[in-house]
């Protein structure tokens, strides 16, 4: 009987994506798409800066900043990282490393998530706070609040905050 339940009910993963930098966009999208490939049901709740990952105008232009970031593979002192244009330089470098390593782009991974029916939820409250309109975001998501996410997440086997 237990086996049957496990057989019929897929595992479920619920992710909160709260960051909008290039590096922090990857974990939710990679884990969500892979989880579906592992036959799980997945939802991502985009809140605060995480909304940039599903913002039509921003999702292809996510950046990584060298300022206050001691983990850049090529270390950049803060007094240089704070110079105009350094975020652009760091982002270009990161994108070229990723490209050379055969890593999918953020738009590619987002499209994979959409194709694989990952449930995408945009946080209504933070959209209002940040002045983001429904039409700024990709069509394939639903707008909801904490309760919308929690209704899905209450049955989750895995929950992650990114």
């Amino acid at each position: 009987m237990i086996e049957m339940t496990e057989e019929t009910k897929p595992k479920r993963m619920a992710i909160i994506a709260s960051k909008g930098t290039l590096d922090q966009a990857y974990p939710p999208l990679i884990l969500a798409s892979t989880a579906v490939a592992l036959d799980m049901e997945v939802a991502i709740f985009f809140t605060f800066y995480g909304l940039d990952i599903v913002n039509k105008k921003k999702l292809e232009k996510l950046k990584v900043a060298p300022l206050g970031n001691p983990s850049m593979p090529v270390p950049v002192p803060n007094f240089i990282g704070g110079l105009p244009g350094m975020t652009y330089v760091a982002t270009s470098m990161m994108k070229s490393w990723m490209n050379n390593a055969g890593v999918a782009t953020v738009p590619d991974l987002l499209n994979a998530c959409i194709e694989m029916d990952v449930k995408l939820i945009a946080c209504q409250m933070t959209m209002d706070v940040l002045g983001i309109k429904r039409e700024d975001l990709i069509d394939e998501l639903e707008v909801g609040g904490a309760a919308t996410f929690l209704e899905f997440a209450q049955d989750a086997d895995i929950t992650l905050f990114v």
Partner: protein
Amino acid sequence: MEANETLDTSGLSCPLPVLKSKKKIKSMEVGSILKIIATDPGSGKDIPSWCRVTGQELLETAEEDGKFIFYVKRNK
């Protein structure tokens, strides 16, 4: 080993070999065999994990010229 279809993911990184394997095997008939070629070093562990979690059968693995080769039978 004879495979019904082959998927070459050479040059692609995590998670693409797994995503593409999933998409490919869904298009094949139950009982048929998919040969997966990957250069992603992580795929050596990821493809077997994917097989275990999704109930597909990993028949054989090999390494040739820095490439990982997997033969996976679609069980369900």
